[in-house]
């Protein structure tokens, strides 16, 4: 197996274009584990460690953020500028696995892997993030909601990779909250709920909700949010919204919980997530 350590994104893309069996190596938290388990056998690894343009967090003039793909989960979790609605992404990063994994795992790697049980996909959908994709031919941007297509399947085409994530300006007064339920700290979620919420005059003026580990991709439903918008987040509204989300969910049975249990958790964790966000709003 060959190993490359280019210093520019273009060089990395060229290496990937030259060998369809090569894979980009970000932190390696997941890729190396999969290689050890014989689940993937790349012909070459193209390390992104020395690609400087992937390592920055930039605050946009409008108040949003552009976060390089090689930013570690630990750095993301420590990013004090991610407040308000974008707090949901910071909280999700802080709940990924353990410190060792957060120190090596990267935002771009986690997004590109597209594991619905992992923490960032749902948070990025709730935050209405966009995924910047760099490919041999062109750069393009895909909304997070459209990026995750199926279990471990994303909008990335051969030769492409995630170069950055952009977070929009969140509505005035919005608060983000990531509610995760796992068997033990650091485990993959049995179910998670990512929320960005704004309240105005006691009523919900903005809300985006995405569920993690509830299906092959993050689950987000317009109708659920519509039911919450304008409400005072009363029990009926939360129950109805949860029912809509549960209806759209298609969780699996696995060692972390049965599908039935995950569906039971939807209203329970949604209520908790909204309450936590409202408490901070």
């Amino acid at each position: 197996m060959d190993f490359y350590q280019p210093t520019s994104l273009d060089a990395a893309l060229a290496l990937l274009a030259a060998d369809p069996e090569a894979l980009p190596l970000a932190g390696g938290a997941t890729l190396v584990a999969m290689m050890n388990a014989d689940l993937v056998e790349p012909s070459a690894l193209v390390s992104l460690r020395d690609v400087a343009e992937l390592q920055t967090i930039e605050a946009a003039a409008d108040g949003g953020f552009r976060i390089g793909a090689m930013i570690s989960h630990a750095a993301l979790a420590d990013e004090a500028r991610l407040g308000g609605g974008n707090e949901v992404v910071r909280q999700a990063a802080a709940r990924i696995a353990h410190p060792q994994v957060r120190n090596i795992g990267t935002l771009g790697g986690a997004v590109a892997h597209g594991d619905p049980s992992s923490d960032l996909p749902a948070a990025l959908v709730a935050a209405d993030a966009a995924i910047e994709i760099a490919g041999p031919a062109a750069r393009r941007v895909v909304a997070a909601e459209n990026f995750f297509e199926d279990y471990l399947t994303t909008a990335l085409k051969p030769g492409e990779m995630v170069s950055a994530i952009t977070l929009p300006v969140q509505p005035e007064g919005a608060v983000g909250h990531y509610e995760k339920f796992a068997r033990v700290h650091g485990g993959y979620a049995t179910l998670s709920v990512a929320v960005v919420l704004a309240m105005a005059g006691g009523e919900c003026s903005h809300v985006r909700v995405a569920l993690g580990a509830a299906g092959a991709t993050p689950v987000r439903v317009d109708a659920a949010e519509a039911r919450l918008l304008g409400s005072v987040l009363d029990a009926d509204a939360v129950r109805d919204a949860a029912a809509i989300l549960a209806e759209a969910s298609d969780p699996i049975d696995d060692v972390r919980g049965s599908a039935e249990y995950r569906l039971m958790l939807v209203p329970r964790l949604l209520g908790r997530a909204l309450a936590a966000a409202e408490g901070g709003a």
Binding site: F181, V184, G186, R272
Partner: protein, 770 residues
Amino acid sequence: MSDIESAIGKSPPRLEAAEKAAGQALFSGDMVLPGMLHGALLTSPYAHARILSYDASAALAHPGVKAVVTAEDITGGAIGPLVRDEYALARGKTRYIGEPVAAVAAESEAIARLAARLVEVEYEELPAVATIAEAMAEGAPLLHEDFADYFKIYPAPENGGNLMTRGEAVMGRGTDGFDEADIVVEGVYEVGAQYHAYMEPVSVLAAFAPDGRVTVWSSTQSIFRVQANLHEGLGIPMTKIRCVAARVGGGFGGKAEVSGELVAVMLARKAAAPVRLVLSRDEDMTSMRARHPGTLRVKTGAKADGTLVAREVELWFDAGAYADDSPAVLSVSLQYARGPYNIPHVHVLGHAVYTNKLRFGAFRGFGNPQASFAGESQIDELAEKLGIDPIELRIKNAIKAGDRWLGGQTITSSALGDALRAVRAASDWTRPRAAPAGCKRGLGVSAVAHTCAFLSAGAIVRLQGDGTVIVNTGAVDIGQGSDTALSQMCAAALGLDIEQVSFATPDTDSAPYNYGTVASRVTYTVGHAVHEAAMAVRAQLFDHAAAMLECAPERLELRPGGRVGVSGEPARNAEVSFADIAGRSLYAVGGPITGSGSFMTSDPLDPEHTKTSGLLDLGVLSVRSFGAQAVEVEVDEATGAVRVVEAWCAHDAGRAVNPGAIESQIHGAFTQGMGYALTEELLWEDCRLVNPSFMDYKFPGAMEAPERINAIVLETPEVSHPLGVKGVAEQPLVAAAPAINNAVSAATGLRLKRIPLTPERVLNALLAKG
């Protein structure tokens, strides 16, 4: 003579603490020899299959491959501590998915792993049994057709099909005793399979010397069990086997018997080069051992005043594909199924059944956690029905010194009542607990007893030329701190500082026989031999000193730091140093000073007291330590998640040799018991293990452990031991699950009967209760 015992009761740093903290400790998997090859296993993809043929040609043709071994390379017989039903590699049949079938030695681990998959094995798949019910069904496929012909050291059932063991014990009037009860409770309890999750997977390095002797460094709890298995399984005389324990990264029972050693020796022999075999975590989880899952039907009767009068237990253990320690685990489980109470009428009946799953064997608690989970949960149900406080009910019935255990052994010391009172006071038992919104809190309690004397141990203490000593026991420190504690016991007998004692590396070439680091036995059992050996050295020191000081030996006393002086004459000219004595013995009079100790546990059962059948002879297992634990839990009503808030663990160490090490044992064992109670469970789909990884199998970590596990070390000297010590390595685990379950009951009103108490099970129960 407080001076001479000063090394006991202190908590010096572990002898190996610095090297472990610095990452310098040498484990088997770290060791490298010139020309060393790497081993890898090929394991069975089938739960049950006949092996028709092997073809190793492709593997052998692969560059870098030096040897392939299969059952055809086995030169000895069957192995197994209680029934010889398995071989170093699957022979004739495979009986579980993950069973080692072949192994490869190659120049690198990567090549070995790749080449192992090139070994072609032709199988004929056979019907398999995944559960006890399937195994016991009429006409079920048999795992061991020749079971009746196997060599065994226990009375096994005849014509039992897949039934490996059936044991029974009756005390008093047995089940007829329920006619004395005013209240009877009965329930069926289920327990899951727990994986040992030692930090260091099974690892071994084997190397033959030119003279044909093999040295084996391995991660084991017993160098002598390794030696015995190599002898039995490969037919190598013991004169040609040297077994050494490197540092061991945990065992918890999983390394009590042989693991990868036979395969590594076969590879080293065939490749004519040293071979190191280190299992990956998933190999360790699929190919090694776990705690017996099973079902227990328990019935307990009491008089209205709370006096327990009768208990009946029927338990079924899934034993997996090979017996390993199962018959012993079953016997011990039944021995503890009565609980630590004076129940006069008892009938316990147990079964261990072969299934096509990995081997269930020894695991911290050794059958007691299953029995105690069921029994101690039921005591709380009884307390509730009787309207008696659960701690009060336990104190009322607690077994005391002079009482007799199931089987007839007499209890020599018991701090059970003290332990229960200690946790009651420390936990502020009756104070109501406030819970956050959406949660409920409650306290639960459990009593426990466990053994600490088992089989035989020896010790040799030698005086060295500078007046220091070296103690050699063959006991392996698997991380619990026995090297330090045994050194302290040796130092105490001779008035030395611990720095003046060396602890010899466990090595069958030099150590006296020692059964193993199991059954919480090392402090009591090996400590007995160490004390005896040190006292023998002391007697010789006094003989020399008497001659050197020209006084009667009776007038002599030990002085701290390695001196013998004349009583009442503190002056320096009235004493001699150990170094002076060593010099005299080595170069002038008497010869080297060596002391030895030898101890055998012998406490025969009384067939007049308890009638038994089908059980092992448990007279070689004795001396019980007692304890109690109270636990506060918080139950999240929205998710069903149970969090342990705080624990109070009172255990009787007899006399605490190293209080710090005992506290560590309590912290570790309680947390492992918490995992057993809440999150840990190996799961199978049919016969396939579905969660053999730390991603899917979850044990508690630092974030799950409560902020405070309050270790309360009681000291009620054990009269049968010269230093009064007992072991407490296992009981904090045993008492964890029932205390947690009882706390969940106190918090929620539920009576759950199945562990682990997963959030899903708890939530479903909460919803069903309404």
